[in-house]
């Protein structure tokens, strides 16, 4: 059995390239940097505020929980913004279920914060300036990218977790993220819930390493995240 780590264009980069041509260069510059060091240069041109302080996720299981906490903060902030937005073409049913997802992500975020206690990283500052929250297609495309990213992040982090209890909590969350991903995909194109862009010929979903995930997420987080202590 192989782990099917095919080199594919990361979802958010692909999304950004397709929907926001202006950010194409920024996206690839991040990839080329192989990390998050260039984050500050990727901020909006008209925003002079320097990047926030570096956030260190920590080591071992604490580091993995903080990694999950960072991603859940990003998702919760995104869906909170979605729920506050007037989105052309989005139905009442769709907005209602997107509000459900917001609440799920808030529950995940708060659970992880609580579990981490004094080891929790600070609340992150997000940057959604590249996302047009008035358009259904851009909101759903971004949601799809975040959800698929979250699924691959938990799938990749599982084997880095030392505690069986923490592994179970990751499992309880990841399947809900996969439900979100499937639903959002179906809203974009019915039947794309598990298409070949996320599930391979062995019937396996994707996994991503923390570096892959945080590189993809970086354009949406103002703080520089130091994940060097995470288990590899």
């Amino acid at each position: 059995m192989s782990t099917q780590k095919e080199k594919q264009e990361p979802a958010l980069q692909q999304l950004v390239r397709e929907t926001h041509p202006r950010r194409k260069f920024l996206s690839y510059s991040l990839i080329a940097a192989g990390g998050l060091g260039l984050l500050a240069s990727c901020k909006k041109d008209d925003d002079p505020t320097p990047a926030g302080n570096e956030v260190n996720l920590g080591t071992d299981d604490i580091g993995i929980l903080n990694y999950a906490y960072a991603l859940e903060q990003l998702e919760a902030a995104f869906y909170t913004k979605v729920s506050e937005s007037s989105i052309a073409g989005m139905t009442g049913m769709e907005m209602s279920l997107l509000a459900d997802i917001r609440d799920h992500e808030i529950a995940h975020r708060e659970f992880l914060k609580n579990a981490l206690g004094s080891n929790a990283i600070k609340g992150l500052t997000v940057d959604f300036s590249s996302i047009d929250f008035t358009k259904r297609d851009t909101v759903l495309a971004t949601a799809k990218a975040f959800e698929d990213l979250g699924v691959s992040a938990y799938n990749g982090a599982g084997k880095l977790i030392q505690s069986a209890d923490y592994l179970l909590f990751a499992g309880k969350i990841v399947s809900v993220e996969a439900r979100h991903a499937a639903f959002i995909r179906d809203l974009i194109m019915n039947g794309s819930f598990a298409d070949s862009s996320v599930v391979d010929a062995n019937g396996l979903d994707k996994s991503r390493t923390p570096m892959e995930v945080l590189t993809i997420a970086a354009p949406y987080i103002q703080d520089k995240i130091n994940f060097s202590g995470l288990p590899q």
Binding site: M1, S2, T3, Q4, L97, D100, D103, H104, I106, A107, H108, E110, F111, N114, A115, V151, Y154, N155, G156, G158, K159, L160, I161, Q162, S163, A164, D165, L167, L168, F169, G171, K172, I173, V174, S175, V176, E177, A178, R179, H180, A181, A182, F183, D186, N190, G191, F193, A194, D195, V198, V199, A201, N202, G203, L204, D205, K206, S207, P231, Q232
Partner: protein
């Protein structure tokens, strides 16, 4: 299945690993150094021995877990195979037919993958049981009534999600093997979400969501054991509805976390579908 990769990972993440298997220490060093010369025919047994010594988890235990998963995948693969054979009369519309075909293909792939892994560990993959998808007549029209078919499909998918979760802890620090199990697990959750969405759109269950609300099945008491325990709103002793001074609805608190099922619970659920 790359066992060498697992061993390397354990060695890297746990510096005491090689010491704990000290009687094998020199052999282990040689093994790691000569990895490319070791054939797959001899590797699995040796790797199994390492697991036994290091974590009290024997090759047999891992094979048992994999055969448990394989049994569920046989159930799902067999179920969708029958449905796809009956698709012209059972499943309305090309979109729905395509979705069931996609799901069936994944389940068949999971069967093959698990069989390959079990064989690579010198285990014997469990043969496909003889199934009765009517569960002794409870679902008599499962392959002729679309409502019944989707209800059983939903129950199978949600059971699968809970079943993988219930045994993942036994594979903790299991490297690529654990990763593969997780990669199957999230695909089952995607399936479950889509089947639930199909049922909503077809008005089989108007209010059902892609996620599980409380312990509601949206089907009826006959499948209740699939959903019992999903109404849990406490995680690690923390009440989610009031966590950190926030107010989160009970529905959202239960939807946000999928719950595991034990092996015994799962076998009780699927038992009526297995003839022999």
């Amino acid at each position: 299945m790359n066992f060498l990769h697992i061993i390397n990972e354990i060695s890297d993440s746990d510096p005491e690993f090689l010491n704990r298997i000290d009687t094998r220490r020199s052999a282990m060093r040689g093994f790691l150094g000569m990895s490319k010369k070791i054939t797959m025919a001899t590797l699995p047994v040796f790797a199994g021995t390492l697991f036994q010594k290091a974590y009290g988890r024997t090759n047999d235990t891992v094979v048992e877990i994999l055969n448990y998963a394989l049994t569920l995948e046989h159930l799902e693969a067999g179920f969708y195979q029958k449905a796809n054979e009956a698709a012209d009369s059972l499943i309305p519309g090309e979109a729905a037919k395509g979705a069931i075909k996609t799901i069936g293909d994944h389940e068949t792939a999971h069967v093959k993958l698990l069989e390959d892994v079990i064989r690579s560990m010198s285990g014997t993959p469990i043969a496909a049981p003889v199934f009765d998808f009517t569960a002794g007549g409870i679902f008599n029209d499962v392959f002729s009534n679309y409502v019944t078919f989707l209800a059983v499909a939903q129950a199978f998918e949600d059971t699968g999600v809970r079943a993988y979760k219930g045994r993942a802890g036994e594979l903790v620090k299991g490297g690529d093997l654990l990763e593969a199990a997780l990669n199957i697990h999230s695909v089952e959750a995607r399936h479950a979400a889509h089947i639930r969405y199909m049922r909503r759109n077809a008005n089989h269950a108007a209010d059902i969501k892609p996620w599980i609300t409380g312990k509601d099945s949206g089907i009826g008491a006959v499948v209740q054991p699939v959903y019992d325990g999903e109404d849990n709103s406490k995680q690690a002793g923390i009440e989610i509805t009031t966590i950190n001074g926030l107010v989160i609805s009970k529905d959202a608190a239960t939807e946000a976390f999928d719950e595991p099922l034990t092996k015994e619970q799962v076998l009780a659920i699927v038992g009526p579908f297995i003839v022999s």
